[in-house]
Every structure is written in C-alpha cells, then in structure tokens.
C-alpha cells in the first residue's frame, strides 16, 4: 500500500514538473506575442512619420485639381524612422542608437512616380584607420615571429556599414530594341537605343513622349513595376541575411540571419501592395530591443498616398450646411461658400451637417 502511494506520488510530481515547464513556455509565447504586436504598431507609426517626411509637394501653390503631383524625396526618411523607433523603445535618438535600429531594417522601398529607391548596405566610415587588431598582429609578428597576415595600411578602412538609400532606379521596359523609362503617373517616357561603339555601350536616339508609347499599356507597366520591386525586395533581403563569416572569430558577423524566402503577394490587399502610386514600404526583422528573446517575426509597414476628401461648406435655403465633396448634387455647386479640410473646421465656422447628403456614397 505504501509502495503504491509512493509510485502514484512520483507520477504526480512528474506531472507537476511537466506542467511547470509547459506553463513557462506558454508565458514566454504570450510575452513574445505581445511584443510582436507592439512592434507592429510602433513600426506602423514610424513608417507613417518617415513617409510624411518623404512627401514633399512639387510646387508650393498646390492646385486643387492637380492632386497627383505629389513629389517624393527620401532625404531624411530613414533617420526619421530610426528616431521614432528609438523613442518607442526609450532610447535617446543619437547616431549610435539610430545605427542600431538601422541594422535591423531588412529592406525599405520608396516608390515614386518616375522611379524607386531601395536601401542598400553602404560603408559609412571609409577613413583609413588602423584597427587595434591589426596593430596586435604586427606586434606579434615582430616580437614572436608569428605569421599573421597584416592588411596594408592604405587598405585598412573603417569598416562601418549602414543602410542607406541607393540610387533612384527608373521603371524600364524594352520594346523593339528601344529601352523606355516610364512614369507611373501618366506614362510619359524617355527612350534610348543601346549600341556598342568600340567595345563600350553608348545610348543614342534619345527621345521623349507625353503619354504611353505604342505597345505599352498601364496594366503592362504596373505589372512590370510590381515584378521589378518584388524581385529587388527579395534580393536585398537575401543580401542582408547572408551569413558572413569573420575569419578572426570564426563566427557570423551578420546579426540578421533570417532564414526563409520572401515575396510580396501582389493581390493580397488593396492598400500598399500592387504599387500604383507613390508608396513607402519598410521591413524590420530580428528585433530584440525590449523583449526577452529575439522576435523571429518580420514586421512590414507600408503607406501610400491617397486622395483627401475635402469638406464643402454651402448655403441652402439660407442655412449653412456642410457635406463631403462628391456628395453635393451638380446643380448646387454654385452655392459652395468655403472648402475645409475636416468637418470639425466646418463646424467651428458655423456650418451644420446636411443630413440628406451626408449618407450618400462618395464618388
């Protein structure tokens, strides 16, 4: 009887230990889930800030009709993204902290009307500095007759790498041995013929055109743009996650070792994917700023421009009403008094909601 009790108790204790281990795993999973969610929100907000910084209007006096002329330039947008991420994880936005954030960016894309930018790994510090490791090797060679290889002084670069916007790449299409560079907005093009002259390539027959050239339609162009960008994103992610072996340590020096293939499903959402207007897209991976363990997920955030619905203030039967643009019947357009950015502004200026027009569909 005593023996039976003992056996049952041992089984019970074993089960209790098992439960403890299960629970710890479960708790860790919940925690990781929370931090993934937090990363998603924070990355979204940072991407929004970065895109807002990149958006610049082409001319100051914005024409109401010409809303498509939004100009995008990438100057500080990566820094803004890094700043926002620093603030999210309670770090001071200094250069070194920005660098830390940028190390985790897998790839960022900024698609503008006439070309797109992709982030590339570039060397920031190219000064010839003699690292301590090289000096050590020299001393060891001199004093003890070792045979370490010392890099010549002029080749000892700083070796500090960071991520930065590369050159702007045009949207290219080839038709009848002409190479077209096209604009996503209206299909205006610049074409050239590539010819070999004495062993080097020369561009001849430069021409411009205002709308889509014969043989290219908007659908063709957009599918080419999406395919190009997808391929570029996949390639850059592969490059970022390449395992680099440091010969001195025998270890991987690349912190990003996300193993897996990547593709942008073009028809998953109608938001950022299927790039057909100026778009910003950023992927951040392998973050470990706040969570206990490295988050294995990749967080993608994207923004693209859209038309803003303005609020019209108009007078009907002597009363001031407001509704959204597109809701007002055509015969009442003459009664518009003012245009506002939000219903709030209209209300402050003494307009009230027009209950008949406001539920109408926007078109």
């Amino acid at each position: 009887m005593k023996l039976l009790y003992g056996i049952i108790n041992i089984i019970g204790i074993f089960l209790a230990c098992l439960f403890l281990v299960f629970f710890m795993e479960y708790n860790k999973k919940l925690e990781d889930n929370f931090w993934e969610y937090h990363l998603r929100i924070v990355s979204d907000k940072a991407a929004e800030a970065a895109f807002a910084d990149a958006l610049k209007s082409e001319n100051i006096n914005i024409d109401y009709i010409n809303l498509d002329s939004a100009e995008v330039s990438p100057q500080r947008s990566l820094d803004v993204y890094a700043d926002m991420m620093c603030l999210a994880y309670d770090m001071v936005p200094t250069d070194s902290n920005r660098q830390l954030i940028k190390e985790h960016i897998a790839v960022a894309i900024l698609a503008t009307n006439n070309g797109f930018y992709v982030t590339e790994t570039v060397e920031v510090d190219t000064t010839n500095s003699k690292s301590i490791k090289q000096e050590e090797k020299e001393v060891l060679n001199k004093m003890w007759g070792y045979n370490y290889q010392v890099v010549p002084e002029e080749e000892q670069n700083g070796g500090e790498y960071t991520i930065a916007w590369g050159l702007k790449r045009p949207y290219l299409m080839n038709i009848d041995d002409y190479t077209y560079a096209l604009s996503m907005k209206d299909g205006s093009w610049l074409r050239a013929r590539e010819q070999v002259h004495g062993g080097s390539y020369v561009l001849t027959d430069l021409e411009r055109g205002p709308t889509y050239p014969p043989g290219i339609e908007r659908g063709n162009l957009l599918s080419k743009i999406n395919a190009d960008i997808n391929a570029e994103v996949a390639y850059q992610i592969q490059q970022r996650n390449k395992v680099v072996i440091d010969e001195d340590k025998g270890l991987s020096t690349n912190i990003n070792t996300y193993a897996g293939t990547f593709f942008l499903p073009s028809e998953l959402t109608n938001g950022v994917n299927t790039i057909n207007k100026p778009t910003f897209l950023i992927l951040i991976q392998n973050t470990k700023f706040n969570s206990i363990s490295k988050l294995s997920s990749v967080s993608a955030s994207g923004y693209s421009i859209g038309k803003k619905r303005l609020v019209l203030g108009f007078i009907e039967n002597g009363v001031r009403y407001y509704c959204y643009e597109g809701q007002l019947p055509n015969n009442k357009i003459g009664s518009i008094v003012d245009i506002y950015r939000s219903p709030k502004e209209a209300v402050i200026n003494g307009y009230q909601a027009h209950l008949e027009y406001l539920p109408l569909p926007l078109n």
């Binding site: 009887m1 005593k2 009790y5 003992g6 049952i8 108790n9 019970g12 204790i13 089960l15 209790a16 439960f19 403890l20 629970f23 710890m24 479960y26 708790n27 860790k28 919940l30 925690e31 889930n33 929370f34 969610y37 937090h38 929100i41 924070v42 907000k45 940072a46 929004e48 800030a49 807002a52 910084d53 500080r76 820094d79 700043d83 926002m84 603030l87 999210a88 994880y89 309670d90 936005p93 250069d95 706040n290 206990i292 709030k344």
Partner: protein
C-alpha cells in the same frame, strides 16, 4: 507515519494538478489580454490626438481611466516632443527632440511627436522575485508608443 505524509502530498498534488494549473493558466491569459487591451487604448488615443492636432488634460484623464479599467494599475505618462534641428560642430545636421511642458489645452503642429508611456505600478517584491528566478509570473507592463502629428 509515512502513510500520513504521503496522503498529504497526494492531496496537495491533486490540488495543484486540477485547480492550481487552471487558475495559473487563466490568470496568465487574463493578464496578457489586459496588456494587449492597454496597448490598444494607447494606440486609439494616439490616433485621435494626431488626427485632431490638439488635446487637453481631459483626454489624458480619459486615457488613464481607460488604461486602468482592465484590472491592472498603471501609470500613464504623455509627452509632447518638438523636433529641433541643430548644426553640430562637425557641420552635420542633427535633430533633437525637446520635451515641451503640457498645458491644459495643447494645440499641436505637424511633425511634432506625442509619446505615451505606460508603466505598471504596485508590483510586489515577491512577484518580481518569482519572475526573475522562474518565469512563472508575468513581467510588469512597461512600454511606450510614439506617433507623429499628421
């Protein structure tokens, strides 16, 4: 004698395996749900403020009430950060974020940053110790979310 001890151990084990485990699991799930809800409330507040470009102390009070309504006592800290561009001695351009004191009614400009920090208060030392040594307890809630005014 040993029969007696064995009985007590058996009863304790039976309790842990039937009642205790369920309680601990449900507690963890509840706590983590509260965590996510608090993050959602913070996100809602930031969306509202960045869209309206203004907020008053009442909005902050509403946020604290909403955050504290999930059974976890939390401290909410709202900061208004104004970006300032400076020239460094090496002729680089550096951007600093200066914290601006909040007033009763704050009118915000585009490209200013609103940062909300949430921190759980009233953590018992026992809970901290258990978390540190075994991980059976939850880590305290502490996160911040910044957003740029549109």
């Amino acid at each position: 004698m040993s029969d007696y001890i064995n009985t007590i151990i058996s009863i304790a084990l039976a309790f842990v395996l039937t009642v205790g485990s369920v309680l601990v699991f449900s507690n963890a799930a509840e706590y983590n749900t509260a965590k996510v809800m608090i993050l959602n409330e913070t996100n809602n507040f930031l969306d509202k403020v960045t869209d309206a470009k203004e907020f008053s102390t009442e909005d902050i009070d509403d946020l604290s009430l909403a955050v504290n309504s999930y059974g976890v006592a939390c401290n909410v800290n709202v900061k208004r950060l104004v970006p300032i561009t400076q020239l460094t001695p090496l002729d680089d351009i550096n951007v600093l974020y200066i914290s601006q004191p909040l007033e009763d009614f704050n009118q915000l400009n585009a490209s200013e940053v609103i940062k909300v920090s949430v921190e759980e208060i009233g953590i018992s030392p026992l809970r901290n110790t258990i978390y540190k040594f075994s991980g059976i307890e939850n880590r305290k809630i502490e996160f911040s979310v910044p957003a740029v005014v549109r």
